[in-house]
Symmetry: C2
Subunit: 129 residues, 2 copies
């Protein structure tokens, strides 16, 4: 039952961009990437698994921070080249900076201005390493 | 005053992925791409301008359909490699299929299932061509 995976036109690197949205707040949390294995495991495990382009390996979101993303919905767009996840964000923090969303800077008068507070010090989030 | 544009680490094709969200409903409407010119024009004009990877030219959203996207906010993520637009979607239709959002298919029991209605026949949307 992997026909649905075959319908994704993986790019030349075998990836697809993935938008992840908080099911409760509606905030867009992250833009990340998946390969076929990541999407298959996301669907089967019920938790978001991405492909880390910098580390070149599967990235089980929250494996270090505890900030897992529990899947509510998986959607695909009209030309099947983007995925949208609706998730329950464990801990209410998606960003490695300790903020709710990675999109914490807003363009104002020609400058990127930080609008969101740090909810937890990253030193505390990652201290178990 | 283009320093904010220089902070974007354009990919090897000179592009960045852009998530566009409806300011009113919170729905994610599209995942598209911008080059530097598209982002600059989006900011200066107040309407979404993308880079069409298939047509290889600037794509002023709504130029044919009338379904423009009026910019409320432009955000960038923590590592500056994704943009988030909050928009007022003119006509309430973002997708070329005549649906509110391009993410109109949901994974259910191993199949992509269409969940959203067509609000306007594409033949009517694009009949002025």
């Amino acid at each position: 039952m992997t026909e649905w995976l075959n319908e994704v036109p993986w790019d030349k690197d075998g990836l697809i961009p993935v938008v992840t949205q908080d099911a409760a707040s509606g905030r867009v949390l992250t833009l990340a990437w998946m390969n076929r294995d990541a999407l298959a495991e996301t669907a089967s495990s019920g938790e978001a698994v991405y492909w880390s382009r910098s580390r070149k390996k599967l990235w089980r979101k929250g494996e270090e921070s505890g900030h897992k993303q529990k899947i509510r919905e998986i959607r695909v767009d009209c030309d099947s080249d983007a995925i949208l996840l609706s998730v329950e964000q464990v801990g209410g923090i998606a960003c490695h900076t300790g903020r709710a969303s990675c999109f914490f800077r807003k363009l104002e008068n020609g400058r990127w201005v930080t609008t969101d507070p740090v909810l937890k010090d990253p030193a505390d989030i990652y201290k178990k390493k």
